[in-house]
Symmetry: C2
Subunit: 306 residues, 2 copies
């Protein structure tokens, strides 16, 4: 059976076709912007683009598609996405899920537990059953203005705020001021250059790289931003583990497998390892496990799920 | 001599004509949105609307217009605004300034000192000379993502973040969760309802009213948000007073008059009075004075200034 998985996030969309023999072909296109006027049309265009980039021999009908998508879409939007993708890929069945669901499936290989996804945004998902069964709870994932605590946007924003506070004399001196000027030009014109460009969230999040460089150079302001970010991720993990235990109350002795996904977790020294250490010491029931796969693997699992 | 003043902020634009006998007529129109595609066209349309709302007898040419505008505009935009307003009001001369300049002129009646403007955003301006003379320094005013610390948007955002953290179990329980649900509907659909609506900044800032209600009801989380906001305003004031003293270094014994403007300073119990007390005790050289007038008075002064 030929199936396909789609992983659509804020930084890019990936599409993978898996043949009956297990062979795979993968193609990518652009990311999803929350401010897109018509999310369904945007996502369909991105799937179409990725599909067109597959080798011609791979562009044959698939039996089922699993999709993990960033953002909460209205039921009518989901139906349009399902219909459009079914049409494009010749698929009798299309399954759309929030990308935290496919991240969870991928990281825990379909098993129960908690997955913390930290990229530009942050969301944690607890699920008590295998595959897409069992009860679920979501923690954070509220977007850049309302939540996503400890994510790349939050870190980049705190870095820029600290840079401007230092520039103003409202806050302590920090190497972040020079780093921000290097990256974005003279600070006094920053608002005009950064606001309303359509890519503001991504630009701010990308500054987290400079916040990392400056923290590694020993700047205490930048180090504190990462420390606070990890604290937020630990708080989110703790809340998700608590929700898991509430939902699985019939199994009171359970330890909870906790894994991770997302680009920010790739920052091992400042994020993943401090987070892992603190989760293991501060959340007694949590048991951290390395991810088995990523969100695209999870989307393929969603398509395979019986 | 007939002159006119224009005060254009994020929540509304006001236009005042002052006759040779000192008689005045005032009209208002809508506010300025940072995300407006063409700021100059937007501002001209708002001035035109306000002008049209003046009594017909008042719509006669003026000798000079003073304008205070939110946001930093490019030189070509400022020239378009000047030319358009000159044309509309039959004015040989139009003077455009940042609205922190007209707030300063209005609050201190054209005298030197520091003015802290706290509304949706926050900016402080230090000026060492009378009218528009002397050296100036601006502190904060970086907009809702990069600064505006202690302003209405920041307070509303922290209120919503605390509500969602409580809802998730990531943060302490707070009455803000119920207040946010009352105001915006069920919390789990909040991102989809609040993001990308075009009025997100104003919607978030308006939640500061509920954060005030909840703080007055004794909620410690809400009280802490206001306390932190006042601390940010004191830090901004301290930085502006320091900049003033650097710029006026030849007069080392100076005490610095400090006044205020902006809607958030109208919240006397949670903002203005705590801010005033802390500025007077924590910033020895600062001397807080009640504002003589508002930004529209300042815009008229800008037009009158020789």
């Amino acid at each position: 059976m030929r199936i396909a998985g789609v992983d659509g996030g804020q930084t890019g969309l990936r599409l993978r076709v898996v043949g009956p023999d297990g062979s795979t072909a993968t193609a990518t296109s652009g990311g999803f912007d929350y401010d897109a006027g018509d999310p369904a049309a945007t996502i369909l265009a991105l799937v179409k683009q990725a599909w067109a980039r597959l080798p011609a021999a791979e562009r044959r009908p698939v039996a089922r598609v699993g999709m993990g998508l960033t953002g909460d879409h209205r039921p009518d939007e989901v139906r349009r996405i399902e219909a459009g993708v079914a049409d494009l890929l010749g698929a009798p069945e299309v399954r759309v899920a929030h990308d935290s669901v496919t991240a969870h499936l991928g990281a825990l290989a379909g098993k129960p537990g908690v997955v913390v996804v930290a990229g530009t945004g942050v969301v944690a998902l607890a699920r008590t059953g295998s595959g897409t069964t069992g009860a679920t709870a979501r923690v954070d994932g509220w977007g850049h203005l309302l939540g996503d605590e400890g994510g790349g946007f939050a870190v980049g924003r705190h870095g820029l705020r600290a840079a401007l506070a230092a520039y103003d004399g409202r806050g302590p001196r920090t190497l972040l001021a020079a780093a921000a000027a290097d990256r974005f030009g003279p600070l006094d014109g920053l608002p005009r250059r950064l606001y309303g460009t359509g890519g503001t969230v991504a630009d701010v999040a990308s500054f987290s790289r400079q916040v990392a460089d400056v923290a590694r150079a020993g700047d205490p302001v930048a180090a504190a931003i990462w420390h606070d970010g990890v604290t937020a991720l630990v708080d989110t993990t703790r809340a998700a583990v608590s929700r898991y235990l509430e939902l699985a109350a019939s199994r009171p002795d359970t330890t909870v497998p906790v894994s991770w996904a997302g680009g920010l977790m790739g920052v091992a020294d400042l994020v993943r390892e401090p987070w892992r250490r603190r989760v293991e010491t501060e959340i007694p029931r949590a048991h951290v496990v390395d991810p088995a796969g990523d969100g695209l693997d999870g989307a393929v699992l969603l398509a395979e799920d019986a």
